[in-house]
């Protein structure tokens, strides 16, 4: 219990710290408005040229709100990989490990604190843009509650992915390249710009099995088209992905920390 409170406090401090720079975070989030505008134009043209009023089961306003959520989630991701990469390369990790805190849990709580603030700001900006461009979509309390269940799990999953990327610094000169590739995988295979149903049929089973869909597509879909069946399916996939990722982090960390040497100084 005391331990949970300690990590909760770390998360709270990280959130407060991000709030102190909300002006900068808000300014950086303005890029979201550019992306949303471009994709709103893209989908407006696609819907105008298509005979169907729905594409991948979504109307034009739903499509833009789906983008708001997937973009807000993606762009709120803290640079955890860079922190781990720096800890490894500068040797700061040795100091971190002697603290009475779990290295992973400390980063997780900090990442969650940061992410909540960033996501809230992104959502605010995205919602304003979407309301101006396409107006509101029908929403319900139960739908929002289901979204609120799926969203934090998506954050945790992405954290594990980023953490694994950071740990690659034990073997590589820099984790920056791996991070870029990882982010593009999340973007492309997570359904950030295109709902997964638009991808070629042959790819869809694989895309749904990959953890990336649980990070972006699951919360996006849950926000615009919620249902209990979708909640059940999303939570099941997210659960499997979290267990798999956490196990992988544990194993990689175990192997990586064996390569750690302290030379004093």
């Amino acid at each position: 219990m005391r331990s949970a409170a300690r990590y909760g406090w770390i998360g709270y401090t990280a959130a407060r710290s991000n709030m102190a720079y909300r002006g900068e975070v808000l300014f950086r989030s303005s890029f979201l408005a550019v992306i949303l505008y471009i994709f709103m134009r893209l989908w407006t043209v696609v819907f105008a040229e298509s005979k169907d009023s729905r594409i991948a089961g979504l109307s034009l306003p739903q499509m833009l709100w789906y983008l708001v959520i997937t973009e807000a989630v993606f762009l709120s991701s803290p640079r955890i990989w860079a922190e781990v990469d720096q800890d490894v390369r500068t040797g700061r990790l040795a100091v971190q490990l002697i603290r009475p805190l779990s290295y992973v849990a400390e980063h997780l709580s900090r990442a969650m604190g940061e992410r909540i603030v960033r996501f809230a700001i992104n959502l605010l900006i995205g919602s304003i843009v979407a309301l101006v461009l396409v107006g509101p979509i029908p929403m319900s309390i139960s739908g929002l509650a289901m979204f609120a269940v799926v969203l934090p799990v998506a954050f945790v999953l992405d954290f594990f992915g980023m953490f694994l990327v950071g740990l690659s610094a034990f073997w590589l000169e820099s984790a920056a390249g791996v991070a870029l590739i990882y982010m593009r995988c999340v973007m492309l295979f997570g359904g950030m710009f295109l709902p997964l149903e638009i991808y070629p049929d042959a790819l869809q089973p694989a895309l749904h099995v990959l953890p990336f869909a649980s990070m972006l597509s699951a919360p996006g879909r849950m926000f615009v088209d919620p249902s209990f069946a979708l909640l059940k399916e999303s939570l099941m996939r997210q659960g499997v992905a979290v267990v798999g990722y956490a196990g992988l982090v544990f194993l990689v960390q175990l192997v990586a920390f064996r390569r750690l040497f302290t030379n004093g100084g």
Binding site: F31, I38, E49, S50, E173, S174, V178, R184, I198
Partner: protein
């Protein structure tokens, strides 16, 4: 004039060789960044593959047109920041932190030395990607390939101009790092999406405040039409962006305050 130009070309080649050798001292990091950028660009092309598989034509734009847009952007961005890496993201913070002193001590003009002083490893991945994707997906004949190579220089000029202008904001508003990043990213994002999506006032913005039109729209129009008029337009637009940015830099330089830092370039 011609001799001076030749001297600057020699200077650029010497800088490029030295910068590349410096980067290759960390071979692993250099290649991993270049390859990662190559894969990053590839992911975007894959996105368009998926998109056009489902929607074959987008207001008259086909997959090969969008690939041409990506190829011209990537190759231009690559060439610009392989050769003039200091026009990349660091310029704003260099100015804001008062770190221009070292460059002010060089003989001749400040700006060429400053711009040529660094190469960006990931830009090499962009450059190679641009050419490769154009050759593989568009399969150009010799005329189109020749035109692509000429347009590579006009796009690079536009990118260098954009980088100088975005970085020079720091002369006027303090640390403009975030602002210049947002501006640059907005231009790149617009430049890699078909212009057919935008109309009205947005089109005007795309040839002024957000000069995506000179970065990719005009070069791709030139590749499609192969007309000399379009080539002159693309070149004039890129030269205008570069010319204005040089003016803004030297105007801003009068407001520069030294950080009194002692720094080494190596």
């Amino acid at each position: 004039m011609f001799r001076s130009l030749l001297d600057y070309i020699r200077l650029a080649c010497a800088y490029l060789r030295i910068n590349l050798n410096a980067q290759l001292a960390y071979r692993g990091a250099f290649f991993s960044e270049a390859i990662a950028m190559f894969i990053n660009d590839g992911a975007w092309v894959l996105f368009w593959v998926f998109f056009f598989t489902r929607f074959p034509v987008l207001r008259g734009w086909s997959f090969t047109d969008v690939v041409s847009l990506w190829a011209i952007c990537a190759a231009g961005y690559g060439l610009a920041y392989c050769a003039m890496g200091n026009a990349h993201r660091q310029l704003a913070s260099t100015i804001a932190n008062g770190e221009l002193d070292m460059w002010l001590l060089h003989p001749r003009a400040v700006l060429p030395h400053l711009l040529l002083g660094r190469t960006i490893p990931s830009a090499w991945g962009d450059w190679i990607f641009g050419y490769l994707v154009y050759l593989v997906f568009v399969r150009p004949d010799a005329r189109h390939m020749g035109m692509f190579m000429i347009l590579n220089f006009t796009t690079a000029m536009a990118f260098v101009g954009l980088g100088i202008m975005a970085g020079s904001l720091s002369f006027y508003v303090g640390n403009a790092g975030a602002m210049s990043d947002q501006w640059r990213d907005a231009v790149i994002t617009f430049a890699t999406h078909p212009p057919a999506l935008f109309d009205g006032a947005m089109k005007v913005l795309l040839f002024t405040v957000i000069p995506a039109g000179f970065v990719s729209y005009l070069p791709v129009a030139t590749l499609k039409s192969m007309s000399m008029r379009d080539l002159i337009l693309a070149f004039s637009g890129a030269a205008a962006v570069l010319g204005i940015s040089v003016g803004v830099f030297y105007h801003g330089l009068r407001r520069y305050e030294s950080g009194n830092l002692i720094s080494m370039n190596g």
